[in-house]
Structures are given as C-alpha cells and as structure tokens.
Amino acid sequence: MLSRVAESVYWMSRQIERAENLARFLEVTLHLILDQPENLVDPWEPLVRVTGDEEFFKKKYGHPNQENVVNFLAFDEEYPNSMLTCLRAARENARGVREKLSSEAFEQINEFYLFVNEASRNESLDRTSQFFDQIRQQTLLWSGVLESTMAQDTAWHFANVGRMLERADKTSRILDVKYFNLLPSVEHVGTAVDDMQWSALLLAISGFEAYRRDYHEVSIPNVVGFFLFNRTFPRSVHRCVASAGWSLGEIDQASRKQTSSQSSKKVDALKHRLAFTQVEEVLAGGMHEFVDLLQLELNDIGNTLAEDYFQALIPA
C-alpha cells in the first residue's frame, strides 16, 4: 500500500486510541472522587503529570482542579494531545485515506468526532460520568467496526500496530498514575482506601472483573503483573506488544520480504523481555523507572516503524 496511506492509517488509529485512553483517565478519576475517601490525595495533579505535558498545563491553567483538568484533557483545542484535537487529527487522517476504510469505519470516526466537538461547545453539558459513558460507547463501536467491517489486510494491520502501541503506552501510564498517587502517602498501602484506588485503576482499563476472576483480592504485585504481563487480557502491555508484533509480521509477509523489518525485530525483543520479567523485579527496581523505560522503548519502535515503512522509500 502507499506509504503515505499506511502512515495516515497508523496515526489515525493511534489518535483514536489516545482519545479513548484520555477518557478512561478522566472517567476513573471522577469515579474515585465520588467515593470521597477522606484521605484521598489530590487526584488531579497526577493526571497532568502522567501526560508528560505539565509545563504546558501549568502555564495555561495554574493549579490543577477537576474543571481545568477535564477541560485540558478533553476539550483543549490548543493542546495537541487532548481528546478533541486527537479526534480531529484522526478524522483528518481518515479523510485522507477514506477509500482504504470501510464506510462504517469512516462514519464512526466522523460521528465520534462530531459528538466530542459538539460536547465541547455545549456549556450546559454535564461533564461527568454520563458524558464519559457515551465516549466509552463510541470507542467500543469503533473497535467493533474495525473488527467486523474491515478486511484484515495491510491497512488493517497498520491500524492495529498503531492501536496496540498506543494502548501499551497508555496502560503503562495509567499504572503510573498510581505511582504518583502513592508517593506522598506510602503508609496508606494496604488500607481500604488503597484497595479502592487500585480497583479504580483496574476499572480504567476495563480489567476489574477479569482481575477479580483470577485473584479475588487486590494485591500490589498481582495488579502490577496484570497491567504489565497478563497473557490474555486485551489491554495488558504484554498482550498489546504481542499483537503489534503479530501485525508487523503479517505486514512483512504480505510484502514477501525475505527478512523481518527492524521494527518487527524490536517489537519481538520487547515481547520476549516482558515474557521473562518478574513482577518482583519491577517493584524492586522501581515501578516508575520500569514504566519510563518501557515508554522509551515503545517510542523507539514507533520511530523505527516510520523508517521501515513510511520514509525509507522516498528518494532523497
């Protein structure tokens, strides 16, 4: 397929996944404060910190609170990674490759964008759970449309790589929220509040039920293991990396290349490392450090991917 089209499909898919995860960040935090535990640490600041864009935020909004963080992550048109700008970019990308998507897929992106765009202009909108419920519906529709209306051809695989790399990154960041949350109050580990917070985290990746089936009780090593290494849950980092690796393999196979691409090799290497790392090692070495490194590796895979498929063939 055309390199430009592959790149647009890849980014379109990443941007939608990014928007979805922002909604998940916000939704879980809103749920958490509804329970109003007395000794809850301020939940809004960590949310800003995990985006890695604190500086932008502080300059524009000052101290984080519910209103400005929701506005920042969901509707800020100046912030290049807000839900609204991500969806707008995804739609622009989709428009550029419309003939490669199913009509349903394009219409779903269009509708999703229009929904958020209209919401951003609606002052009277209740920007709490109901809005985020609807966002979740939209994202589920998007996944369904992608799975059931598109041929699993090269375009689909590029979309899948984008989606999986983004999801792996964001799952790790959701876990990281907890790290920031924990910092000021290490003594709370193991209390009821803590249980509630870890559960909320699991809810954020739709993994609460799956986790409970496996472990029944919340324990830090089990939750961290679930986020990072679970072999079957669709949002665990390991599962996402494995799926991205599968798609890259299929892309190489479709082009009848003799050797795997660099990006494909790097994804496989990461997958192996995840398969053979123990939770205990992660906790001992510092979870935040582990997650940071993981994000660097994911970024490196993204760059290699661009060199392999999007840029390499353009004559100098």
């Binding site: 397929m1 055309l2 390199s3 430009r4 089209v5 592959a6 048109e77 707008r88 739609r91 622009e92 428009r95 550029g96 490759v97 419309r98 003939e99 009509s103 394009f106 219409e107 269009n110 509708e111 229009l114 090269t154 590029f158 892309i251 479709a254 082009s255 009848r256 290349k257 498929y309 999007f310 063939l313 353009i314 004559p315």
Partner: protein, 505 residues
C-alpha cells in the same frame, strides 16, 4: 403572464383531468419540469405528485431534515474554508427530484455523443494539423490567445484520438423547455459522486414513488469509469489504475476519494508518485509499483512542474515525459481546456459541421463575442438584458447577470469589456426551467440546470450516464446554481423507454 401559461399548457398537451394537481404550488409562468402551467403533474411525474399530495403536513420537511442529517453523518461534505474547526458544509440537497422524459433524454443523449465526438476531433486537430484554422472556420488568434491552450501539448496524439474521456456538460432548458448547452466542462468536471449519493438517499426515502416512476439506474457509473480507464492501457492484462487528487483540502476531495473507493483503486497525491526512466511509480510500503493509468483530478498546469507551473507541489515532475513516451495514460489529456473556453464554445456548432458533416442536435446558447466590433457595440448597449461571462472563469465567477445587476455593476463590466474584449462573451438571459423545491414548509419553484456525465473511450464508444447532477438555485429568483454561491442539488430521474433497464429501489 396569463397568456404565456395558456400557450404552455397546450404546448405540452398533457393537461389531462386524470393527472393529479400539485396542491398549493404555482408554476408562475415559468417552464416547470414537474408540473404543467396549471400545476397538474406532467405524465412522468404522476407518481411523485401523488405521493407528495398524500403525505401528511410536515412529513416532507421531516424527511428533508433526515436526509440532511444522514449526509452530514456520512461526511459527504465540502470544505468551505480550511481552518482548525474543519468548517464543512453538506452540499444542500433538495428532496424533490427533477424528472426528465424518455423522449427529451434520447435527444440529449444523441446530442451529447455528437458533441463530444466533434470536440475530441477539434482537440486533436488544434494541437496537430490545425485544419479547422486553415479552412478559416476559427481564427488562429482566438485559439492561440486562449489561456487554456497549452503549447506544451503540440504534437501529442493520444490513443484513439481521445483527449477528453470524461466530460460533464452543463445543460439548461428555457421557458419553452428547449434544451441548450451552456458549457462543455472538459477539464476534470466534478459532481458525479453527488449524483450517486443523491440517488442512494432518494431510494431510501421514496421507494414507492421511485419504483412507480421507472427511473433509469446510475449506479454503474464507477464500474463503467473503471472499465474505460483500464482499457486505456490496452496492452496490459492487469494495468494499475489510480486516481490523482490535489489532496484533502481540495473542495472536491470527497468525490476523488469516493470514486477511488468505488473503483477499488489507489487514491494518490503527487507526492506519492515518482517518475524514473519515463515510467511512473507510486511509493508503497513494499517499494515502488508502476502506475499505468491516471485519472487525474489535478488541473493541467499543476500536473508537472517540469513542463507547466514550476511552483506546483501538487504534480509529479516528469509526468509529461512519461506521458509523451506512452508509458502512462492520462484521463483527461492535458490541454482540453482550450475547447472549454467560452469564446471557442461559440464555434462548437461549426466544429460539428466541419468534422462530422452533421447538423448539431443540441443548441448552443446564442453567443456574442465581444472581440467582434459589432457584437461588442450590441453587448454594451444591451447590458441590462444580457448575461456577460469572462471567457476563462468557471464556477459561476466573473459573471454579470444584466437584468439582476445594479447600474454600478453594469458600468464595471462595460469597462472590463472595453479593456479586454477577447475575454468576454455575452448571451441572452435565459429563463431557466424550474422544479418544485422545499422552502421551509412549502414548495416553490426554483431554477435548475443539468450536468450529465459522458465517458468517451473512442469515437464509436461514447456512453452517457442516464441521469446527472441537477443543480438548483435555492435563492428565490436566482439563476446562479453553483454550490459555492448558494446552490444545491437534486436527484435527477431519467424515465426509461419501454425495454430500457430500470433502477430498483
């Protein structure tokens, strides 16, 4: 007013008492395509008028809104101006279809085929032997002074003598219902995607009236287009066909994408293509792949910065080399714009006589060429009656509609005509035919034109899409139908003769 209506109803001789009357609607002395002067349905519109009369109050309006909503959701929009808001509008769509009888259509079809054959002969001639100029039928200075005449195309001989494969001729009907050619549109005419989408929403919303009206189908257009394109590389068993678009910010981008999608071919931009050893390749994730046929929707002068506009980033350097070497086919060939010039237009009837030895089937609108002195004096003296057009403009720009203009506007045009007479033509103001159109809760007549689409594979193989884009001037009394200036569109129902294929709802 009264006598005109009378003569019209006898003229069309269909005022039969058994035909339903469109209630509460007045033709107001104009030629109406759905009803006769007394508001009684024309024979082909009986099922439609019946349906409208039976719908409960407000129902038409409700369906109109529902259709608009679905067009918006489908993303069938054009960009108004590009900013971060992505300001997009749907092309306004009107729910009442325009109906064309089988007998009118059969003349239109024959006339269009004849015209495109003559125009292709003219293009081949004017870039090669120039017989028509040598015979003194068209002055050389008119051709050579035309901005769309491209000297870079001299000596080109496209296969089968076809320069213009895809045409979207603009037709109008006057107060007597007579059909005239307004413009030939030989350069990347757009709008066919709206024809197909309009049809799709109408079938969904009016299945019964549609089924009862024996409408001819239009949805094989993409298949026909693909067939024609692939035959432009006759030596290859499986040629690679692509659609070349200027990109997502082009106002017709939706159509480019739609056609590529429907044909199952790649939609490429200039930056996706490279030329090497006079062959065209596209850059893919698997490396380079040769391209054999390009349906290009990029304007002539942007096609190849080596030959035309040097600043163009939309085109492909070297494309013309590959084209001249016969390694890639282009639809349409570059240079067709010369036959689109509004001065050259006036000579099309002569071309038909000269090249084909036939009398024109479709009328030209009588045209005054301001570069002729007597024409110019007449035009300047009658600006309040005439429509004046700039020869090189399109899209409804550079037009003065004399009867609707102010004194200042007329004076401004008189000045322009004196300054550059070659660039102006004038035509009598036609009272364009009308079709009932939704205006809030009621139906009123609005002026329309018609753009049918023609595919030309060779002189013997010309196909006319039985239908076309009906554009409607939504503003009361307005004669400007362009979407950039408040125009909308309607579905066009061409009625089948006995034995012709009928579309199924």
């Amino acid at each position: 007013m009264q006598s005109q209506s009378q003569s019209q109803s006898t003229d069309s001789s269909v005022s039969s008492s058994e035909y339903p009357k469109l209630e509460g609607y007045l033709a107001e002395g104009f030629y109406d395509e759905v009803v006769c002067a007394d508001s009684v349905a024309r024979p082909d519109a009986v099922a439609l008028v019946d349906l409208i009369n039976r719908l409960p109050v407000g129902e038409l309006n409700r369906r109109q809104r529902a259709i608009e909503r679905s067009l918006y959701q489908m993303g069938i929009t054009f960009t108004v101006y590009s900013d971060e808001q992505g300001t997009e509008k749907i092309m306004p769509f009107d729910i009442i279809p325009r109906i064309i009888s089988a007998s009118v259509w059969s003349d239109v079809e024959l006339g269009l085929k004849q015209r495109i054959r003559a125009l292709n002969r003219f293009l081949d001639d004017v870039y090669n032997e120039r017989q028509i100029i040598k015979e003194g039928l068209i002055p050389a200075r008119i051709v050579d002074s035309c901005p769309q005449y491209l000297p870079q195309c001299k000596g080109l001989k496209p296969p089968a003598g076809v320069w213009c494969h895809i045409t979207g001729t603009d037709l109008v009907r006057d107060n007597e219902g007579a059909v005239f050619v307004l413009e030939d549109n030989l350069r990347c005419p757009s709008g066919v995607s709206y024809v197909l989408q309009n049809r799709a929403v109408m079938k969904k919303n009016f299945p019964r009236a549609f089924a009862d009206s024996s409408v001819r189908p239009v949805n094989d257009y993409p298949a026909r287009l693909y067939q024609m394109l692939r035959r432009m590389a006759p030596d290859l068993p499986n040629p690679t066909v692509v659609v070349l678009t200027p990109g997502v910010y082009n106002s017709a981008y939706y159509e480019h994408s739609f056609l590529a999608h429907q044909m199952g071919v790649e939609l490429v931009e200039g930056r996706d293509l490279v030329v090497e050893n006079d062959h065209v390749y596209m850059l893919t994730t698997d490396g380079r792949q040769q391209v054999d046929v390009i349906y290009r929707r990029v304007d002539d002068t942007f096609l190849d910065p080596e030959v035309f506009n040097k600043d163009s980033v939309l085109g492909v350097p070297g494309l013309m080399r590959a084209y001249r070497a016969g390694n890639v086919a282009l639809a349409n060939a570059p240079g067709t714009g010369v036959a689109d010039d509004k001065v050259v237009y006036a000579f099309v009837p002569e071309m038909i006589r000269f090249y084909l030895g036939e009398e024109p089937i479709l009328n030209n609108v009588p045209t005054y060429l301001c570069e002729r002195e007597e024409d110019r004096s007449y035009v300047l003296a009658h600006l309040d009656e005439l429509v004046v057009k700039a020869a090189g403009e399109s899209g409804g720009y550079g037009i003065l509609i004399g009867p609707h203009a102010t004194d200042e506007q007329r004076a401004e045009f008189a000045e322009k005509i004196r300054e550059n007479p070659r660039n102006y033509v004038a035509q009598p103001t036609l009272q364009l035919s009308r079709v009932p159109t939704m205006t809030g809760e009621t139906l009123e007549g609005r002026h329309v034109d018609l753009r049918p689409y023609i595919l030309c594979e060779s002189a013997d193989d010309v196909w006319v899409l039985p239908g076309g884009l009906t554009r409607v001037a939504l503003k009361k009394g307005s004669l400007v139908v362009n979407s950039s200036q408040g125009g909308g569109s309607k579905d066009t129902w061409v009625v089948a003769s006995p034995g012709q294929t009928v579309a199924r709802p």
